[in-house]
């Protein structure tokens, strides 16, 4: 009986821990990333996950020529800076935040619609040993009609 109780508690604990980590990312994205979009309208899509230092995520999206976009990338405050790189269909780098003082946003518009790839990378803190720092990373897009 005691074993059953312990096992149940354990399962609940694991489940709660998993949900908690994910739930934090939703709240984090809304609290931290959304305001960065400023006067741009958020498209409503949700892209957030938990990453450790040195880890990457990537995103594929079509951007349209009628629109002006703001891309916003955010990482938990305990994480080292999150860098992002924007790459076109021919693997040419169009923008790198690393070369722009680790900016968290990028405003752009397109002469013709393009499918682009955005690679996010949590920098390494450079500390040897120990457990790598882990936290939420989110990317959001805002748009407005080209003036």
């Amino acid at each position: 009986m005691k074993i059953v109780k312990i096992a149940t508690a354990l399962i609940l604990l694991v489940f709660a821990a998993g949900l908690n980590a994910d739930g934090q990312c939703k709240a984090f994205a809304k609290r931290t990333c959304l305001p960065e979009l400023g006067f741009y309208t958020h498209d409503g899509n949700y892209h957030a996950t938990v990453l450790s230092e040195g880890e990457e995520a990537e995103l594929y999206k079509t951007f349209f020529s009628d629109m002006e976009y703001r891309l916003s990338v955010c990482g938990d405050e305990n994480l080292p800076p999150v860098q992002f790189t924007v790459i076109d269909a021919n693997n040419n780098i169009l923008f790198s935040s690393k070369e722009s003082n680790n900016t968290k946003t990028w405003d752009f518009k397109l002469q013709s619609s393009q499918q682009l790839r955005i690679v996010l990378k949590v920098s390494s803190s450079g500390q040897q040993g120990g457990t790598p720092v882990q936290g939420c990373v989110a990317i959001m897009f805002g748009f407005k009609i080209k003036p």
């Binding site: 604990l13 409503g44 990537e58 594929y60 780098i93 690393k98 397109l110």
Partner: protein, 306 residues
């Protein structure tokens, strides 16, 4: 006895620690891993590429219903309410698949109505989307407060767009974070197909050449592959597998269009702080292929809203 208790406590502590470790690993690695693309790069880009290795998580994202509706409006198309999925159909949707598809479809219809100031339709379609979200068990995706706020700001397009964006975000984040990525993918697919359906129906064939809306439809060729990859990342779910087959039929028609794009040249405008991605594109969509696409999308969509 005390010794035995101490040992079992130690085991329990270890198990809890190990389980927490597992849980955190699950959160961090919930996306699929993929080998890095093989890249042959030289020059200045090479140092940036050195850092790009392997993605822990891959996002495939489609134009949201709001973005699709904005593209239709910016192309100069007029509003036609007979193109929307009638709200009376909500009572027909009882499976997770039909509710997810029609959550995407109704959200697209809601976005379309919002941008054209269709006040009564906005409220009706927000309620239809709410029924779908509630049916899927998405907690608080669209609250009564959202509906009240919508009614209070019914003539303020900016506030309405914010509410639509927030409710869509609530829905897809809830599904993603509650281990239902397949349902989330179906919602996105429903919204994308509805946007394609409305735009293809709004094209006036007498005004085909140089029609801006036709240009926006051609652009969807770029998204159809993303949609297939999104669905294939959730393959094995019966509803997703059915959708993959339908979307692949759409891709067959899109593949008849040739899109040629010149290399993209980023140019930073210091006065506006906006980078312009310059490139020229040519395409060859004939009226016949367009008609084929239009008929096929209408056929698929009629099955989705049954």
């Amino acid at each position: 006895m005390n010794r035995l208790l101490k040992i079992s406590n130690s085991v329990l502590t270890f198990l809890i620690f190990f389980s927490l470790l597992l849980a955190s690993c699950r959160s961090g690695g919930k996306g699929e891993k993929k080998d890095a693309d093989s890249l042959v790069v030289s020059g200045a880009d090479a140092t940036v590429y050195e850092d790009i290795k392997q993605a822990e998580k891959i996002f495939y994202t489609l134009p949201s219903p709001l973005e699709s509706a904005m593209l239709i409006k910016s192309a100069g198309a007029l509003f036609e309410d007979n193109l929307l999925n009638p709200i009376e159909n909500t009572k027909n949707y009882s499976t997770n698949k039909s509710m997810a598809l029609n959550l995407g479809i109704y959200t697209c219809d809601l976005s379309f109505a919002s941008l054209y100031d269709q006040t009564q339709l906005i409220i009706n379609y927000m309620n239809a989307a709410k029924k779908m979200a509630d049916g899927l068990g998405i907690l608080d995706a669209i609250s009564e407060e959202d509906i009240d706020k919508l009614e209070a700001n019914i003539h303020n397009t900016d506030v309405i767009m914010d509410i639509v964006s927030q409710t869509y975000l609530n829905s897809n984040s809830y599904l993603e974070e509650n281990s239902q990525p397949a349902i989330a993918a179906i919602v996105l697919a429903g919204g994308w197909l509805e946007g394609l359906y409305i735009s293809t129906q709004l094209v006036d064939m007498k005004d085909f050449d140089g029609n801006k809306l036709v240009g926006r439809i051609i652009d969807q060729k770029l998204s159809v592959d993303i949609l297939i990859r999104l669905l294939e990342s959730n393959a094995g779910h019966p509803a997703v597998d059915e959708l993959i087959n339908e979307v692949k039929r759409v891709k067959v028609v899109f593949d008849k269009i040739t899109l040629t794009t010149s290399p993209v040249r980023p140019e930073y405008d210091q006065t506006t702080n906006v980078t312009v991605l310059k490139s020229e594109v040519t395409s060859d969509l004939s009226p016949e292929v367009f008609q084929e696409l239009s008929v096929l999308v209408a056929e698929i969509r009629s099955n989705l809203i049954k």
